[in-house]
Every structure is written in structure tokens, then in C-alpha cells.
């Protein structure tokens, strides 16, 4: 208390540590590629030149969970894939986020049957659900912008 106001009067830009940390997290959120079905094609499209997710600091799709912050579950998750997904999620270092891309990852979509997990939020905590079958690359980027807004509002007190 006190020093921020004084520095601001002197023309120095001050910020809270929370804002700085959240800014850093939103601008270098490396996604892990978890393409399981047709949504993965749109995810590749979002990475390519026309949409270019590297504008958001996401140029690297890491195939390794230990180097990634964001898991984009793109596609329907079968019951056999579910333990693998959970294992890879557990291997990701904190802080970590999950985007359920498309209808199938969000709630099973059109595959309302015994073989497909009815939404990945049964096994991992999902931050943002992106609707569409499959979502356009723009829709995925809109989901990521929604996630960025959510991350910017995160508080230290809520950290586990």
C-alpha cells in the first residue's frame, strides 16, 4: 500500500503481481496436441497461416505433456482413451487448463452411446467448452480468447 499510488503519480506504470503473472500466462500458453478425431483437422487449421494461433503465443503444439500448459481435447474420447487422457493430464505441470473442443469432447455430441465418454469433464476439469461440429478455426480461437479472459481474472487466493 502506498508505493503504487506514489509511483503512478511519478509516471511509473505499476501493477499487481497477479496481473503480471496472469499476463505472462495468457501470452505463452503452450497447447498440447490431443487430436482424436475430425476436430483435430480444424485445430491444425487454426495453427496454420490463415488463422495463426502463434499470434497468441501458442506456436508450439507440444507432443509432450511435461512442456505444455493447455490441453485442447479435440474429438470424441472413447472409454479406452479416457485413462490415457487422465494420465497425460496428470503429467502436465501446474498451472494447467483444458479446452474441450467440439461437441463430442464437451458432452458426447451425436455419439450418445456406451463407447464414448459423454464429455471429458467426467475425467478432467474443463475450463472452456467450444461448440461446433467441428468448430471453425475462428471458433477455437474464440474459445481460447474466452480462456484468456478467465485466466486474467484468476486470483492468488484461489490457487491450490
Amino acid at each position: 500500500m502506498g508505493v503504487e499510488q506514489k509511483l503512478a503519480n511519478m509516471g511509473v506504470v505499476t501493477t499487481t503481481l497477479e496481473t503480471a503473472v496472469n499476463w505472462g500466462r495468457t501470452n505463452a500458453m503452450w497447447p498440447m496436441l490431443f487430436g482424436l478425431a475430425c476436430c483435430a483437422i480444424e485445430m491444425m487449421g487454426a495453427q496454420s497461416a490463415h488463422y495463426d494461433m502463434s499470434r497468441f503465443g501458442m506456436e508450439l503444439m507440444r507432443p509432450s505433456p511435461r512442456q505444455s500448459d493447455l490441453m485442447i481435447v479435440a474429438g470424441r474420447v472413447s472409454r479406452k482413451m479416457a485413462p490415457v487422457l487422465r494420465r497425460l493430464y496428470d503429467q502436465m505441470p501446474e498451472p494447467k487448463w483444458v479446452v474441450a473442443m467440439g461437441d463430442c469432447a464437451s458432452c458426447g455430441g451425436v455419439f450418445n452411446n456406451y463407447a464414448v465418454v459423454q464429455g471429458v469433464d467426467e475425467i478432467v476439469p474443463v475450463d472452456v467448452y467450444v461448440a461446433g461440429c467441428p468448430p471453425r478455426p475462428e471458433a477455437l480461437i474464440h474459445g481460447i480468447v474466452t480462456l484468456h479472459e478467465k485466466v486474467r481474472k484468476e486470483k492468488f487466493v484461489n490457487w491450490a
Binding site: H50, D103, G108, Y129, P135, V145
Partner: protein, 173 residues
């Protein structure tokens, strides 16, 4: 001595790169700021439409719910009266819900609708932080009352709106 040749070849290749850098325009669409227009037949978020007098086109027949392959639509119909009229005919949709996360945007509901009440728009920006937010209710889906129309429920004269499906001028269309 092959010293100059590889260098020349490299330069030839780099000239192409340099030429492209100068002549080619960038293809990237700066998405959140600048949006590419969708194709005319694109199917996005749904809307429930109204007639020019403000009455709702949806008559609560639930054919859209029957046609839906993902079971994303829920319709519940109630009785219309002349004192409280929402749509032409006997019934109207008192509850109309679409789960945007279930919907696969196939447009079968649009095809099944006998009154052309439900249309798929061009909005694709559907991201939710909670699954509960994805259920769009009738209030969210219905378009505002057009100019010169009255909001529903309306008080209408008896015997005027008995037909729930409008008469078609050209039945082939």
C-alpha cells in the same frame, strides 16, 4: 573445387524467399479484430423467427426435436387462446431449448420445420465456461418484434388465426 556453386544455389533459393517476402501479401486473418465473412449457406447459431405482425412462427409441433440426430432440442407446447395468442393456430411453444453443445449444426431442424420458424444463422462464436450456459432458451433464440408488429402474447379477434401453417403460394417451393 565446388565452392561457388553451392553458394549460388543457396542464393537462388533465398532470392525466391526474398521475392515472396516483398511481393506476396500476408494471408493471416487477424481474427478477433477482423472477421472473415462466412459463406451464404453457413449454418451457425439458431434463431426463432416471427411474422410481420409480431406473432411467433413456431407452433410447438416438435418436428425439429424429432428430426434432430443429436437430440439437442426440447420443445414443450401449450394452448393458444384469442386472449393470449403467441402464434397462429392452436398451439405455441411455451418452452423451446437448444443445447448448443449437443447441436451439430446439421440444419435438419430447419428442413423439418413446417412454418420456417427455426433458421440457422451465421454466428459461430459459441464458447462457454460452464455447460449450463450452453442451453439456449426461447428468450435467447427468438428474434425481436419487427417494426409495426406487437409483442406476444397478443389479443386477437376470434376466427382470424385458425391456421397454424401458412398457406403456400407455390406448393413446389
Amino acid at each position: 573445387m565446388r565452392l561457388v556453386e553451392p553458394f549460388l544455389e543457396l542464393m537462388t533459393g533465398m532470392m525466391t524467399t526474398l521475392k515472396m517476402l516483398v511481393t506476396e501479401k500476408p494471408v493471416t486473418v487477424q481474427y478477433p479484430e477482423e472477421k472473415k465473412a462466412v459463406k451464404p449457406r453457413y449454418r451457425g447459431r439458431h434463431y426463432l423467427t416471427r411474422y410481420e405482425n409480431g406473432l411467433e412462427k413456431c407452433i410447438g409441433c416438435a418436428l425439429c426435436a424429432a428430426a434432430c440426430p443429436a437430440d439437442a432440442i426440447f420443445v414443450e407446447a401449450s394452448e393458444n387462446t384469442d386472449e393470449k395468442r403467441f402464434s397462429p393456430g392452436d398451439r405455441y411453444a411455451s418452452t423451446y431449448e437448444i443445447n448448443m453443445l449437443r447441436c451439430i449444426y446439421c440444419g435438419f431442424c430447419e428442413d423439418a420445420c413446417p412454418t420456417e420458424a427455426i433458421v440457422l444463422g451465421d454466428n459461430y462464436e459459441l464458447s462457454f465456461t460452464d455447460r449450463r450456459q450452453a442451453v439456449y432458451t426461447k428468450e435467447m433464440l427468438i428474434l425481436p418484434v419487427p417494426q409495426g408488429g406487437a409483442p406476444t402474447p397478443q389479443v386477437t379477434e376470434p376466427g382470424k388465426f385458425t391456421r397454424s401453417v401458412p398457406e403456400m403460394k407455390d406448393p413446389v417451393d
